[in-house]
Symmetry: D2
Subunit: 341 residues, 4 copies
């Protein structure tokens, strides 16, 4: 069985394991106070061309979202996101479990627009008894979105402008940030992010690491006491070195983006082959996730050799499948899939 | 200024104040252990023709909803309601503040239907990794709805059936229960409720009391330790007698429904006059709340003498206004309004 | 049976009920926007000789404590109080239910001292990994304490100084504030409180009202968006007028303190009689609560005619009882009790 | 610098890294559904000689404690532990952040006794208004304790008996379980635990793993929907295989206990040398943590070459230091330390 059902099927990019082995006997302070974490922080700041950001390393995506969002909001404030937003649908209500409402708007291919944000803000602020409504205070977007689509730099700038105008924060979930930033449907570069949002994270788990997400806090207002939240949410790894080592490796010599670029290239080969063979796409993604509308009969046949993630039913005869590539995807396996498509 | 903007503009039905004065020097145990609370409980059980229900008296609606719902759900479970549901829009996220997600469906004149419930349940249970999704465990409806509409007995039975089939609880918010049950668009009687849901409350604040809501727990599974939740939520009145006295009065000789009936009759007179004069209704309500589409020009004129609640903008030239009647609404004032409509 | 077991055995000071009856048909805006609430606010500010404080009216003590404390603290911050503090022992963990730790120190007759506060602050701040410990951010004291004792002005000033020096807030629970301030073991006056803490409440429930507590926010930092917390905690009464009317009455012509003084005078008569008859006191209280060590044999006899609150077992042969007086306590009943002591 | 300040200074036992490297390209399902997790579960059940327990793998200790405890308790229930309990002092109030009170008793060398538990239960159950108090529902103990001490089998049996008698659950934090079970001051064996508590965890982070804790649920009542809590708490690793691989290695051929035994042997050599040289012990520990009272002058000298954890000030001239050994501690370094002691 050759699996394309997710981008976390294998371990880690081999250099990471190599570094873990090499450094295994070094004695290092715990809880993110080690030298590798310092080095990784230094490299990320350099990649961002920004020395003022705070960088913290957490273990996983849901954990990162709940830690970040609960650190920003007071109990009467809510976070705006699309109905497809990861925090709204696939995190078991972790945001609500810390007391905050997720206020949703209808997505368009995974994306939110500024009109939707402004309307929610106006609705609450203009209400006769505003304290009866949850106050929108944060906008959550994913880059790329859960549908594999991207915002352009212009779009993101507009969103951040509307946030600042209305005294909202903007948080970007970058679980697959590397795949998004190398995609050709956006002109956003990593360095741009420190100008285009208040806080974001650089995903490791789905981009070559064993696990790990690097939270980057741009806005000074959100920096204070963040380590208390990390610890309280159970997100402070005793052997923080393991996170440091991984990101130190990923941000060495641009490895993070090389890994992601290679996976995206393979994904696009599958996409093009699918189009050529007459399949329709469910979302037009240029990232490592591809969404193909597949006749159930054909799917059954393919599933003898390949594993996919069934995104949703399309109609009685077709299913939307998601195909993912990662650092570990081989050209050979992609060729096999294309051949059978 | 004659006000029709809500049903909590005045104090309490005079008999209630009279009783408070008469009993003022009686020495009674605190926290709902007094004789008046016992008597009120007895009368409510009698009105329900059911001795097995537990009855608890709380102070207000948001407090009751948050106490009841947080007592039922575990943190990974959610409550289904319409997008117009009071807990979703007008309680400052109180449900989420205790950790639970409010899962919304699109309302139809304030109402939910069984297809919507079943789909949400199926979506979660059939998901490949069900623990990534909030588990629907409770359905919240209002009777009458926030739009003044009602469920029929058949509709409510269907909803409760779909709940029980799927192992969900059903909770009815009866903030305006009296007005709903005397309306002619439903055949539900108070006694029916113990067969048609797991837990509900009989609203006092909007139906003649100074304040107070009577929670009725039908399902044995939900009875245990409910007083702990009342106390922890700050909802246990030290002088519980004040709640007892009010409901003891309201459920004496059917007063609760007489009060509501009189208010509904006056509301219907306004409704009929409005129709006669060519106004369109926004919702077709048979309760004490009437929703009328009003030209802005006319509204401005009426507002010199009358206060209404502006429900929402209808279009550039019209506004939806809500008109409420209550125990204190006089025929004289209704006549004045009708004359000027 | 003549009851002395609590100070919330009866209804309300008669003038309050009279005012409720007189104003019953007035139409007033809901949620604390009514004229009576404005007037009560005005009178409280005048009594405090301070126009800059914010005043909010809530329903009960536990509700007030949880609303105030959860509005001040972030999740990783805690509130310091004595082990006997009401929030620690008698509110079903309401503070923790909103996510905050109650950090306790051993009481001395119900009181905390500045050494205890400083030690807790130092312990956390000097810890090698401070984010592993809950950060003390608020001190909670009761005035008078749960043991009926009082702080002097000098003691309170010292506590507030140590709070400010360490960047902590000070909150005073004034459930029985009136009884405390008229007692002869303190020189604190109501006006002093705006110089001696950040936020406090003036208790109504136990001092003559049907129910109700007036929160006074002195520190500007704590004022913002407080109404959102009131609403979200289920503490915003729809008919807010009922709270306004009560405090408007209590703060008319110094009534609040007259009521409390009268009750304290009667309590002190009981205290003196008890001492004279050879009873030992458990706490030396000058407020409306008296704590007497009573032989079980004598207690049994007295209980045929009188009700007391059993505070705790003293030893095999003696029990500590609490005797409370209130606005409704009569000289006649006090004489009867003294006679039988 | 040779460091003895904690047992998480190095990476992982080399076999674990080796296994991670070997399996790196295997494609495995996420979220704990992989083959390694199955194998690890199988081996742990075998080591416990019990097929009925549920086993779940989480990332860290605070995360495990907060996930387990919040899955067991309702909001009005609390967990009893010693004042030195890890959840009480070193987890930033994570338990409270999910709404539950930590009810503390004074420790004796880190331990709790059954009298303390019974008294807390009686206090609440016999209180006149029991719902005003947090209901004790869970006892938390650490094995070994935070002070390096152990319970005997008889002591643990008594504690569990008093829990069951009073309808409380018993949870054992086994962050250093391996070190505890190989110590000579207890006769508890791993297999005994399924008879002596309702739920416990086998610590990996401090016992040879990169990270990871294995939760073992014995009591059927606590098994239901536990994966929802893991996911909601951000504790479900996408690449769950990494946890599976680690515990699969640790529970292969008794490796877990071999690692711990070796570390304990070295710790005892240090302990004996310290006693011989006339140092006093602060706690009498037979585990990998040793607590020595050290003159400040001597400490300063030693700190030129060695790192220790300063547990607390002893008096003006002495400090309590904690010395930890682990899988990575070498005899050579222990000899160097002993020589300089």
């Amino acid at each position: 069985m050759i699996r394309f059902d997710s981008d976390y099927l294998e371990g880690a990019y081999p250099k990471i394991l190599k570094k873990l082995v090499e450094t295994n006997y070094d004695q290092e302070a715990g809880y993110g106070k080690d030298e590798y974490t310092k080095s990784a922080t230094y490299k990320i700041r350099k990649a961002l061309n920004n020395d003022n950001v705070d960088v913290h390393f957490l273990v996983g995506g849901t954990q990162t979202n709940m830690t970040v969002i609960s650190s920003i909001l007071r109990s009467y404030q809510g976070v705006i996101c699309t109905d497809t937003g990861h925090i709204n649908v696939h995190e078991t209500g972790a945001i609500e479990s810390f007391g905050n409402k997720v206020i949703t708007v209808k997505n368009e291919e995974g994306k939110i627009n500024i009109k939707q944000i402004q309307e929610l803000v106006d609705l609450q602020r203009n209400y006769d008894l505003p304290e009866h409504l949850v106050m929108p205070k944060l906008v959550f977007i994913s880059l790329p979105t859960e549908c594999g689509t991207n915002y352009t730099k212009e779009e993101l700038k507009e969103i951040y402008d509307v946030c600042r105008k209305n005294n909202l924060y903007l948080y970007i979930d970058g679980a697959r940030l590397g795949y998004g930033l190398v995609a050709k449907d956006t002109d956003i570069k990593l360095q741009d992010l420190t100008e285009l949002c208040d806080i974001f994270y650089i995903g490791g788990t789905k981009c070559g690491a064993l696990f790990g997400e690097a939270v980057v806090i741009v806005n000074d207002e959100l920096k204070k006491d963040f380590r208390y939240y990390i610890k309280q949410r159970g997100a402070m790894l005793a052997k923080g070195r393991i996170l440091g080592i991984q990101f130190d490796t990923l941000f060495d010599n641009n490895l993070y983006f090389k890994i992601c670029k290679q996976a995206v290239d393979l994904a696009l080969r599958i996409k093009e082959a699918a189009i050529e063979k007459g399949y329709k796409l469910f979302f037009n993604s240029f990232t490592n996730q591809q969404f193909i509308i597949m006749p159930n009969i054909k799917l059954k046949e393919l599933e003898k050799e390949f594993a996919f993630f069934k995104w949703q039913k399309y109609d009685e005869e077709n299913t939307v499948i998601r195909i993912c590539t990662s650092w570990a995807t081989t050209e050979e396996n992609v060729n096999k899939l294309i051949e059978k498509l």
